[in-house]
């Protein structure tokens, strides 16, 4: 069977699965978001490997609740909200299962190599990254959406599913905690 569209290459059944028109159509929507989703998940989670799993989980969760999506043009925001929820769950479960901390300089190594000239900047980012790891999952998410994704407060509220006032409050507390963590590191040094 030959399928048209982005999943055409998957005309041959994989495992027990079988490609249907609905699957192909949905997969096309997801694939359009993969790069953005992967980058967002990595920035939130701080691990590319975990981000891959999170995106795959989010895609599956979206597939299972696809009946909730009323308009296709809202797919990006809808899928983004699912992804943020998956990342939040992973951060929370990570707190229950502590993992060995990875130095921030080893994350996204290629880009850091490009920035090798800015030694002070690297040091500052390393401290900031370690301070960032101490934040609560919800605080991390709003900071990433605001300062990496450059979303407005209203857009963050829509993405996370909370009131705009709560977003402002979380941003305020997150930056305060981040500053406090940085100050504590300065004292330790």
């Amino acid at each position: 069977m030959r399928m048209d569209g982005p999943l055409g290459a998957l005309a041959i059944p994989i495992g027990r699965g079988r490609v249907t028109a609905e699957t192909a159509s949905f997969a096309a929507l997801v694939e359009g978001q993969l790069d953005r989703a992967f980058r967002l998940a990595t920035v939130i989670l701080g691990s590319a490997i975990e981000a891959e799993d999170a995106v795959a989980d989010a895609a599956l969760a979206a597939w299972r609740s696809r009946g909730d999506l009323r308009k296709t043009d809202r797919f990006e925001a809808w899928f983004g909200r699912i992804l943020v929820n998956v990342c939040r769950d992973r951060l929370r479960s990570r707190r229950r299962r502590p993992v060995t901390e990875m130095p921030a300089s080893e994350i996204g190594g290629g880009r850091l190599t490009e920035a090798a000239d800015f030694r002070d900047g690297v040091h500052a980012r390393d401290a900031m990254s370690r301070a960032f790891e101490t934040l609560e999952p919800d605080e991390r998410i709003v900071l990433v959406l605001r300062f990496w994704h450059d979303l407005t407060v209203e857009a963050i509220a829509d993405r996370v599913g909370i009131p705009a006032g709560t977003v402002k409050s979380r941003l305020h507390h997150a930056t305060a905690r981040l500053r406090a963590a940085l100050a504590a590191m300065e004292v330790e040094r």
Binding site: L7, L10, P13, I14, G15, R16, G17, R18, V19, T23, F26, A27, V30, E31, L34, D35, A37, F38, R39, T42, V43, G46, A48, A51, E52, V55, A56, A59, L60, W63, R64, G67, D89, A104, I107, G108, G110, R111, L112, A115, G121, A124, R125, M128, S129, F132, L143, V144, F147, W148, T175, L178, R179, L182, A183
Partner: protein
């Protein structure tokens, strides 16, 4: 202390450094594979989610209702079902007010299984720890209710009337009241039963005692005393009908009993009625009452304030 502009610049730089760039090609394959091998029937999953949520809500509601009911004080008063107006003298006959037949709580068992299944689905499918804990607690509550609901005893003698007729109180005897009957003679037991639980219940009747050995005393019929302010032996009886008792409410019963074929008359000695040396007392101290509460039928053993004793030959009974 760094200024706001530097702080934001460092934060943005740190976040930008965490950006890995485009997704690896393997991610597309992984996502495709996950989507295409997902075999979970969507409608069934949706039904499972709804059932699980409904079961969890039901369990929480049940706990809240029970908590409210348990906190309510109990005050003892007459039953809420009005007594019928006496029309003509009524004599209790064997079989009156007796509950017979088998009872299988099939519908209740089904509801319990559905709730338990819903909670199990919730427990298995939820990834949020608090919901899994809530579902586990719900399952424990359902299991607890299932194992205890049929064994609760919400009917008891608390206050009111108790006695039997005919009876004598032999002087010098430590055995208390003795029923003044011979073999296979009827006598009447008077008893007020009270709903001692915090939920309403419906008295359905007397537990069927007909299967008991005919040589032993048996309870064979039940009526209602309409007026306990007069001598009980002459108080009018009314036919029993299922009666609803709220928490603390009570009903005055007249229970027809048979003494059993082995009963003997307590022999008067020296002017007082006492049990002769060749006779022993055979007693019983529980009356089986059938009631229904929360759609579950219960068999309660109401403990009498004193043992009902019948004279019995001190030797083999024919």
């Amino acid at each position: 202390m760094i200024d706001d502009a530097t702080f934001e610049r460092d934060l943005r730089a740190m976040l930008a450094a965490r950006d890995p760039g485009p997704a690896p090609a393997t991610l597309v394959t992984i996502v495709r594979f996950r989507l295409e091998t997902d075999r979970r029937p969507r409608r069934l999953a949706s039904v499972g989610r709804w059932a699980g949520t409904a079961a969890a809500v039901g369990a929480v509601a049940a706990v809240l209702i029970l908590a409210v009911v348990v906190a309510r004080p109990i005050s003892i008063s007459p039953g809420s079902t009005p007594l019928p107006t006496p029309t003509e003298p009524y004599a209790i006959q064997p079989g009156d007010g007796v509950v017979t037949g088998e009872y299988l709580p099939v519908a209740q068992a089904l509801v319990g299984l559905i709730v338990l299944g819903g909670l199990a689905v919730t427990f298995a499918s939820r990834r949020i720890r608090s919901r899994r804990i809530a579902a586990a607690l719900g399952m424990l509550i359902v299991a607890f209710i299932a194992t205890t609901i049929g064994s609760s005893n919400a009917v008891a003698f608390a206050t009111g009337v108790y006695g039997f007729d005919p009876g004598i109180n032999p002087a010098g005897s430590s055995t208390g009241m003795v029923v003044d009957v011979e073999g296979d003679q009827p006598f009447t037991l008077y008893l007020t039963v009270t709903n001692t639980s915090r939920l309403p219940l419906e008295i359905l009747g007397l537990a069927d005692d007909s299967v008991r050995d005919q040589r032993l005393p048996r309870l064979v019929g039940m009526g209602v005393l309409s007026d306990t302010s007069i001598e009980l032996s002459s108080a009018p009886r009314l036919p029993f009908r299922p009666t609803t008792l709220g928490s603390g409410e009570s009903i005055d019963l007249a229970i027809l009993a048979m003494s059993g074929s082995c009963a003997v008359h307590p022999t008067p000695v020296g002017g007082s009625a006492v049990v002769a040396p060749t006779v022993v007392a055979f007693g019983f101290r529980e009356v089986g009452i059938v009631y229904e509460q929360l759609t579950i039928r219960h068999w309660a053993s109401v403990t009498l304030p004193e043992t009902v004793e019948i004279a019995w030959p001190d030797g083999p009974c024919p």
